[in-house]
Structures are given as C-alpha cells and as structure tokens.
Amino acid sequence: MKIQSQVSMVFHLDKCIGCHTCTVACKNIWTDRKGAEYMYWNNVETKPGTGYPTRWEDQGKYRGGWVLGGKKGRLRLRLQGKWGTLGNIFYNPYLPTLDDYFEPWTYDYQNLFDAPEGDDQPTARAISMVTGRYMDTIEAGPNWDDDLGGSQVYANNDPNLDHATEEERRLMEEIGRVVFFYLPRICNHCLNPGCVAACPAGAIYKRGEDGIVLVSQERCRAWRMCISGCPYKKTYFNWSTGKAEKCILCYPRLESGQPPACFHSCVGRIRYVGLVLYDADRIEAAASAPQAELVQAQRDAILDPFDPKVIAAAQAAGIPDAKIDAAQKSPVYKFVKRWHLALPLHPEFRTLPMLFYVPPMGPVLAKMDNGKYDTMDAKAEGLAPMLSALEKSRVPLRYMASLFSAGNEEIIRKVYRKLVAVRVYMRAQRVKDIPEAEVQKALAEGGTDAREVEAIFRLTSLPTFEERFVVPAMERETAVEALFPPLDPIARNYPTHKGEVGIGFHHDPQRGM
C-alpha cells in the first residue's frame, strides 16, 4: 500500500444553472492574456452537444487517453507509442487546430466614437485577436450551442448519441420532451493523466503533495503532445508564448486555504472540494480494469480514511494529521465512495479522473390533468407522483451511461434509485403526501436508509461553505523552506517571490526568440 493524498472534486449536476459564473471567474484570473484568449480552463457545456473543443469526446479524431492493447494487453496511449511521439514531433496529426476551438475576437469599439457623421449608426466590427484583422463572419465561439442553440448541428452530433437507438434520439428531440443539462468541466487532475504521459519533455507533472497536475513553463518546449494526450482536451497551447497551459486548480488559493475561484464563485453551489486518500499501487490495475468495472475499480483505489490501518499507513507515509483529518471530513469521499452517487466523466478514457459528477435527474415529465398538475407515466406505472419511471426518464439511461459509467447502465440505475429515494423520502417528510409503504419501498430500492438519505439531502441542498470546501492546510511554506538558505538579516536574502509559491515568474512570459 502506497498512500497518497489528492485534492479531489465533485460537481452536482442537478444544481448547475448554466450561468457560466465559474467560467468568468477563471477567465478573469488566469486566461485573460495574449495567446490564452481562446482557453477555457473552466467551461460549461450544454449536453447533448458537441462541447468545447468541438466533439472533444471523439477519440477517433483526437486520440486522447489510454487503451488496453500495449504489450501483454497493458495500457498504452491511444495517441502513439514513445517512438511515434518522436517521429511525429514535427507534425502531430491529431492536434486540434484553432478552428476546432474558435478564433478569439474583440470589437472595434473606437469606431463608435470616431466614425464621421453619416446616415447610419456606426458599427463596431469584429477584430481577430490573433491577426488583428477584421473578421467578417464569426462562425464559432466557445459556447456556440448554449441551451441547445443550433441543436440540429450541435446536439445531434454529440458523440454520446452514437449508441442511442433511433427511438431514443427521436424522443430526445420531440418538442415538449426536449431536455438538456449542463456539464461544467475543468481539468480532472487525473491519477493516470494522459497529458503527463504524452509529454516527451517531461514538462508536465503531478504534484506529490496534493495531486495537482501542472505544466512547468520553463521546461515546456512546445512539442504539444499533451494536448492530444488529454482525452478531455483540458491542456491548451498558448499560441503566443509557445507553451502549453492548463487549469492549475488555483493552487495559490488552495495553498492559502481558499477553494479554487470557480468553486468559490459557483452560483448554484454545485461544487465540492475535498481530499481523498488513495493507494498509488492500485492505479495501474484500476486504469486497466475491464470497461464495465472501471468505475468500481476507481472507487476501490480510494481508501477509507477512518480505517485504522489506512491511518497508520498514511502516517507512516508522512501524510500530516491535518490532511488525514481533512480526508475524513471530505465531501468528495462521501459522494464518491460512501454513497456511490458521484461518477467520473468518461471513465473509459482510463486516466482515472478525480473530478466526479452526480448525474442530473432531469426534470420530471408533467402535464395538467383535469386541472391537476400530474406527472406523466407515473400513475400508469403505479409510482409516486413525483417521479416517472426511471427507464422512461427524458434523458435515456444509455446516454448517461455513455457519459459517466463507460456504458454500464446498472451503475447509473443504482445512482438514480438512490436519488429517487432521497426525493421520495424528503417529500414524505415535508409534504406528507406519500404513504409510508411507498417510502420504504423507495428506500429499499435505492439500497439506502433514512439516516443516509438525510445526510445526502443535507450535503446536497443545505451545505455550508465549510462543508462544501474542505481544504486542508497545505503547509506549502514548510515544504519549500528547506530549499532556501537560512534567512540572514545582514545579507537581507529574503525570498522575494514569497517563498516561490504562486506564479513566481522572474521575467515576463513573452514569446521567445
């Protein structure tokens, strides 16, 4: 057992209102720079939809992540082998281009002030932020298909619909049944990251203390294999500085005990951050499990922080008590491991992503019936009026399974049964219109009990700031202290970069010669 700690995350999709506040927070802090305008370290996609960059989930095109099929059936990068990396270094056939994202633009606002008097209102034409030239037509943007806009082009081309039956596709498009939900995405800070493995320069690494995946700007040489290696397309290439960049999980904030900016600003309060302990020796096995078992294998690699054996091993591995304590309070541990409600996004990419999603229930199908608001299907199936039959839910289980369980519908069904139990139980508590027998039936089907349901309810709808964000003291300052010579008041050798935490550039990050 080799115990490590990882800052890990949960997004509760039922609560996301698609406001993009998270994106704006991130953009304002980190990517509002030349060369980074097109980057969205945090973005919010509408599902069904093609996402950002377009059809990023289509690994036939982008070749991200891992596949089984190396020597002795072991894991290998879908992109290419190590020799292939060197051979393709002058031209990477699978690299997305700016057109798969969009060409960033601004507007010629000055013209609104300077235009000579005329018969027409002056306009502010679009100007490309890459070339500085006027752009006549803008064909794509980072969120072009927001709320199913242009769904004939976008939603219909969602790679997750490839496995949907004709019937399911038809139902999802039917007016009155149409449904969508939001999928906010950041870097998953994976346990088996494809970006790290693909980088020939060794510029990307996982930070041992907290598992944050970072690109060393000084070591990156623009070989751009990480962009292909990441199946989530969450490493970006700064076209101006010639360096790869990615989400840094706001580590300067984490180090001072604050949650990342997108978490902090989230309006729907869908985001949770917490520590988990995991067994590094199990990573390879978990990442190479058979497809249907991937979710469970990843759960198994996460350890129980209350188990005395785990605690002893963690202490022996030098994990401070504050972190073990944080792991015990972690909301992520509860959602992922104890309640089995939060699932990784596309586990079949085999990078063991450490951002987990509670799948959305979707709105219940309801209609007015004899002046009474009633849920469709439910009555016919003899179910509580709150819920239609799961199998008839608006978003097909198969679609959810394609997103969150590598196609294993049983896992999704179990999650939903439990979420249904929470709704039924809480409604019985508050509105008192569901007979006790039905409540008990829902609890049994959900494989849960009243105590657990109340805990889930509490952490879902009423959590305090401190319950959502359990960020342990990182004690980064003591970690880097050893790297500096002792402070000498006479020589005044005080570290000027605050102990080199945060972005400690010694000079401006400008394009090289």
Partner: protein
C-alpha cells in the same frame, strides 16, 4: 588574410556564440527555449513544409556529421562507385525534400495571416540564412559532383584542424567561391543558434524513451 578571418577566426566566434549564448540563455531565460510550434494556428501547410524539411535536413546533416567524425570509414564506404552513386542520389533526394519543405514553410509564413502574427524578425533572418544555406548546398552538389568524395579531402581536414585548435585554411582556400560561401554560411547558422528558435535543436527529448510515463514531483 581574409581567409584567416573568415575560415579560422569566424568559425570560433560562431561556436563560442552558440555555446556561450546557449548556456547563458538556458540559465537566464529558460522560458524562451521553445520550438514555438504554430501547428495550432495552421496545420495543413505545416505538414507539407515541416515534415519534409525536418526529415530532409536531419539526414543531410547526419551525412555531413558522419563524414566529419569518421572520415576513414566514410572513404572506404564510398570507394565503390556504386555506393557513392547511391549515396549521392539519396543525399540529393533528401536535400530536395528539405529545400521544398523550407520553401513551403516560407510561403506559409508569408501568406497565412495567423502565422504572420507570430513571426518575429529573427524568424525571417533565420529562414533567409537557412534558405541560402540549403540552396547553396544543393547548387554545389549539382555543379561539383561527387561531393561525398571531395568533402572528405577538403572540408573535413579543415574542420578537424579547427576542432584540434590548429586552424589550417589552406585546405579550403583554393575551393570555388560557391563552396566557400556554403561553408561560411554554415557557421552563420551556428552563430544564430542561441539567438533564434534554432535553440530547440538541443531540446530534442530523447530521454522520453527511457522515462516512465508518469512524473510525480514532491517537495519534501
């Protein structure tokens, strides 16, 4: 006299600039070490430029290098006319690939707005010098056939004399000016090494082949 300046002094200046400048840049401005790829901005033309250019020039340079490092072996290999002939043809083909690739890259930089917006003056200088160098080499191999042979008896002893810090310009002084220009310009390329994106050459990540896939760095 000018021979001494051009073929004895200048090569040392170029090499010192490359090595000294390279180390200085690595120590003080490591961030700027990058191949500055523009593939994200434009991909199709890059393929037709970058791939033939890089593979062509690598093979041609390797041939120059091998003949310089092991001239004895090289001479024995090309002693057979058939081998000499084959090697010349192969070298010619790769040089042609490099030249065409370079032209595509230059045209791409000229015509593609996106690429122009990330092009510096130094990029143009470097492209011009490289184009001159490849064109000269190409021309030399056309006009003065069997370069694989006479290179070993003229440029190689001169380079060896330079390397052994005992410069002997007489090996090259009587060569045609076309050949001389090629040699001289070669050292201009070396001189530019530390001050242009050429520096990415020493960053080629061969150790990736032996490295484990995952990198974890901890601070305690």
């Amino acid at each position: 006299m000018s021979d001494i300046v051009l073929f004895a002094a200048f090569p040392y200046v170029a090499v010192v600039l490359a090595i000294g400048g390279g180390f200085y840049r690595f120590r003080h401005d490591r961030f700027s070490y990058s191949s500055l790829s523009s593939e994200l901005l434009e991909k199709r033309r890059l393929f037709w430029g970058s791939v033939p250019w890089h593979y062509g020039i690598t093979i041609v340079l390797l041939a120059h290098l091998v003949a310089f490092l092991v001239p004895g072996v090289w001479s024995r290999v090309i002693a057979a006319p058939a081998t000499l002939y084959t090697l010349e043809v192969i070298g010619f083909a790769f040089a042609l690939a490099a030249l065409m690739g370079l032209c595509v890259l230059i045209a791409r930089r000229l015509t593609q707005q996106r690429i122009r917006s990330v092009t510096t003056i130094m990029d143009w200088v470097l492209l011009a010098v490289l184009l001159l160098q490849v064109a000269l080499g190409f021309w030399v191999s056309l006009v003065y056939r069997w370069g694989a042979d006479w290179y070993v008896h003229t440029a190689v002893p001169w380079l060896i004399s330079l390397a052994s810090l005992n410069p002997q310009t007489q090996y090259v002084s009587s060569l045609p000016w076309l050949v001389k220009l090629h040699m001289l310009n070669g050292f201009v390329v070396i001189a530019l090494f530390a001050f242009s994106r050429l520096a990415h050459l020493v960053a080629l990540p061969f150790w990736y082949l032996w490295r484990p896939y995952q990198l974890v760095i901890r601070n305690r």
